[in-house]
């Protein structure tokens, strides 16, 4: 009898402990990495404004993907992973912007170079004796 009582008490104690642990787990859930997520959204938005969709589509796509994964991880309360994904999304979006600028600069130069060549050629012709 005594022995049975002892087993029941032990069970209750274990159950309480489990409940406490669960409550404790809830209380210690880390906050969502809002600032990192916001930074990623801003970086993506900047890249879109810079026309990265045209000049660095793959990079922009990957940044969006990372942001989506970060949101999923946040919902799953996997905040450490969510924050890393958000930071990766941000840096990838920044890369998209940087590559867009480089591509634009190169294409402007090419255009200008063609223009300069054409001009030089034309001038050369105009300068030749008639």
């Amino acid at each position: 009898m005594n022995h049975t009582l002892g087993v029941g008490r032990a069970l209750i104690t274990a159950g309480l402990a489990a409940i406490l642990m669960l409550v404790g787990a809830c209380a210690s859930t880390p906050p969502a990495p809002e600032s990192a997520l916001d930074a990623a959204r801003v970086a993506i938005s900047n890249a879109e404004k810079a026309d990265a969709g045209r000049f660095a589509g793959a990079e922009l796509g990957e940044a969006r993907e990372k942001l989506a994964l970060a949101d999923t991880a946040t919902r799953a309360e996997n905040m450490v992973v969510a924050e890393r994904l958000a930071r990766e999304s941000q840096v990838q979006a920044e890369l998209a912007t940087a590559r867009t600028a480089a591509a634009k600069a190169a294409s402007v130069n090419e255009e200008m170079g063609r223009g300069a060549d054409a001009l030089a050629e034309e001038m050369q012709r105009a300068g030749e004796p008639k």
């Binding site: 450490v80 992973v81 890393r84 930071r87 990766e88 840096v91 990838q92 920044e94 890369l95 940087a98 590559r99 600028a101 480089a102 600069a105 190169a106 402007v108 130069n109 200008m112 170079g113 223009g115 300069a116 001009l119 030089a120 001038m123 050369q124 105009a126 300068g127």
Partner: protein
Amino acid sequence: MNTLFRNHASYATALTVAAAVSVTLAGCATAPVTPDGAAEVRAKLTRLQSDPDLATRAPVAREEAETAVLAAEAPLATDEDATLGAHRVYIADRKVEIAIAQAETGEAEERRVKIAEERERSRLDARTREADAAHADAEATRVAAAGAATVAAVKTEDMQRQIDALEAKATERGIVLTLGDVLFTSGQADLKAGAAANLDRLVGFLSQNPERKVEIEGHTDNVGDDDSNQGLSQRRADSVKTFLVQRGIESGRIVSSGRGERQPVADNQSEGGRQQNRRVEVIIENSAPVVGST
């Protein structure tokens, strides 16, 4: 037996030591390691830093990349989150790529300035060429004009020289050329052969000044009778006219007359004076009438 036991004990000790060593070694093997991919990212950053065209550009991005690569290279203990290393490498890789892209943009923009300068230069060159051509045209025109002026000047100068050569003198009536009687056979109207050279200069002058009319007057000294002097002076004047016409001077431009002994230029008392009076004067009329003189 005792010895064997002792040997056994020392064997056990050796085993224990060996185990301890191997545990230590194993500990070393699982000690903090640099994440995979960190070396590649470092190599990429080093390439950027040693690219002469890009190394000095995008300093802020390069600094961030350097920091990120250092973070990626930080060894991670085995019990640390395995994905943290991959995350750091990812960030470092993108930071390096951003630095490269920004450096390339800077380089392209700098090159653009050069392209623009080049374009401006070729435009300028063309304008310069045009201007040079125009200048050359103007210069040619100027030279031509100057040439014409020079020709005119030379012509005037030339004429003066010719007049001088003819031993002529400018008078109100025009240029008066006096052909002395040494050009004629004494008492005759025929021109001596040596006269031709002298008269050729007159022919040249008249050819170059076709608008000028010519009067040829024959004169004599007072030796002999008037009629024969008149006749001789006329014939000598005619003789000069004939010579000029033979040399291509239009006869309509030439009037010849004999003045006899009536217009001496020197004293007939002396031989020198009489020689001076025996002459043929060629008066080349001024091309334009002189205003005020009649």
